[in-house]
């Protein structure tokens, strides 16, 4: 089973960090612009996740050796 999944959480956490930095007033204008650009990218990514995601449902199977696998469930 793959461990990595696109993560809304990581996008939103980074976005919150960026916003806090931009609100803090202690950056150079150049750095602020770089952060802003990153923020825009992440906003787009997060909105994309909201728009395009589809729920996947899988059933967990365990064989005689205790090895786990999954198969897709259509509902």
């Amino acid at each position: 089973m793959p461990e990595s999944m696109p993560s809304f959480r990581s996008e939103i956490e980074r976005l919150e960090e960026i916003v806090r930095s931009l609100e803090s007033d202690d950056l150079d204008l150049d750095d602020a612009l770089v952060l802003f650009e990153e923020g825009v990218r992440r906003l787009k990514a997060a909105r994309g996740l909201l728009r395009e995601s589809e729920l996947t449902v899988k059933r967990v199977l365990e064989d005689a050796n205790g090895t786990l696998s999954t198969d897709d469930v259509s509902l």
């Binding site: 809304f8 959480r9 802003f36 997060a46 729920l55 899988k58 059933r59 509902l75």
Partner: protein, 388 residues
């Protein structure tokens, strides 16, 4: 032979003739009893209880004056949460009979209900609850917060139950950004307890799961009973990720509900609690976007201000420089002025120059009839030498 209600009618005392076999007499007694006492509702105290490996229960009911042997078959007793305690006052719904092999009068118990309020179920529940409490499993401090944005959610329930359908439908609508892993178990009947425990244990072996839901849809008290099992409750407590318990309807509160991090009234409510709503998340993103823009505007404002301030300073400096320069120019001009011969002319002196502009300083520069220019304070005068 059978059918005559008088057991002694055919007795021929003192002779072997007409003697009944033991089997005949017990059989006849059984028929008589079953015909005469079809179904009884009996109150008594449980004593000598024994549960056999076959699952059948044997015990006696007694009161101050008498006692009667009872059997409760597995098919009947498995609807109960557990055996009654020794000494419990109970009501039984039973059919009296004679057990021919032992020639024993006894009751075949179909239903057993403790006389105290809540009954056997409540009793078992309270006992299990007390055990969980002793082990600190009901401590509110144990409750973990649910992740705000789960990615992989394990659902321990029946593959074809209403609970799974409800959960899937709510999550697809609210937050389809996750992967839902179904750990399929039977949630009622004899196997439910063991399968629920195994399923919950399996959740701990699934990679990347950050939330678990365990539950089932509504049903009778008996149907929901596995969720009141102490073993299942302990298995819920042992799940390594935050766990939501959702059993039955609003009014059903089970042991797993008490042990889980969050109790949801229904499976749909569990799904609502498990994931954020896309609409709220979109709103949150909107808010962040606004703050980001405001934040950056702050920077450009600061930049503009700084720029303006710098410009001001530059201008001021330039001005000062200019002022310094012009006053220097003036003083330089003054100096130049002071050096200028024109100033001398102001005092009444004049300068004589020949046609070529050479200054005529001495008498010998002036030959007879020499025409020359005489510069005085306000202009030139043509002049002519008339000799010595």
């Amino acid at each position: 032979m059978v059918g005559d209600l008088d057991l002694f009618s055919a007795a021929a005392v003192d002779s072997g003739e007409g003697a009944w076999s033991v089997a005949d007499v017990t059989k006849r007694a059984r028929r008589l009893i079953e015909a005469g006492l079809n179904r009884v509702w009996v109150k008594g105290e449980v004593t000598g209880f024994k549960a056999y490996r076959s699952g059948h229960w044997y015990f006696s009911l007694r009161d101050a004056e008498a006692q009667v042997r009872c059997v409760m078959w597995r098919t009947d007793n498995q609807r109960l949460p557990g055996p009654p305690d020794e000494g419990t006052q109970v009501f039984v719904d039973a059919r009296p009979t004679v057990w021919e092999e032992r020639g024993e009068f006894r009751l075949t118990v179909r239903q057993l209900v403790p006389t105290d309020t809540g009954g056997l179920w409540q009793l078992r529940l309270e006992r299990a609850k007390a055990a969980l409490e002793r082990d600190g499993l009901l401590d509110p401090a144990r409750k973990r917060p649910l992740p705000s944005y789960p990615r992989r959610v394990a659902v321990v329930t029946s593959a074809d139950g209403a609970a799974l359908k409800d959960i899937v439908s709510v999550i697809s609508r609210r937050w389809p950004l996750i992967e839902l892993l179904l750990v399929s178990v039977r949630v009622q009947g004899e196997v439910a307890e063991a399968e629920l425990c195994a399923g919950l244990e399996l959740v701990n072996r699934l990679p990347g799961v950050d939330l678990a839901i365990v539950g089932r849809g509504g049903g009778s008290r008996e149907d929901l009973w596995a969720f009141n099992s102490e073993r299942v409750a302990r298995a819920v407590a042992a799940v390594r990720v935050p766990t939501i318990s959702a059993v039955g309807h609003e009014t059903d509160v089970t042991l797993t509900d008490l042990v889980a991090d969050v109790r949801a009234a229904t499976p749909s409510a569990a799904a609502e609690a498990a994931v954020p709503s896309s609409a709220a998340a979109a709103e949150l993103l909107g808010g962040l976007a606004q703050r980001m823009v405001r934040g950056l505007t702050g920077y450009t404002d600061v930049g503009r201000e700084r720029l303006a301030r710098t410009a001001d300073r530059l201008t001021a400096a330039a001005q000062a420089q200019l002022e310094r320069r012009s006053s220097r120019l003036e003083s330089l001009g003054g100096m130049l002025d002071a050096l200028s011969p024109l100033k001398v002319l102001n005092r009444g002196y004049a300068v004589a120059r020949d046609a070529k502009g050479r200054v005529l300083k001495r008498t010998r520069d002036f030959s007879a009839d020499l025409e020359f220019n005489l510069t005085v304070s306000d202009g030139d005068v043509r002049a002519k030498s008339v000799g010595e």
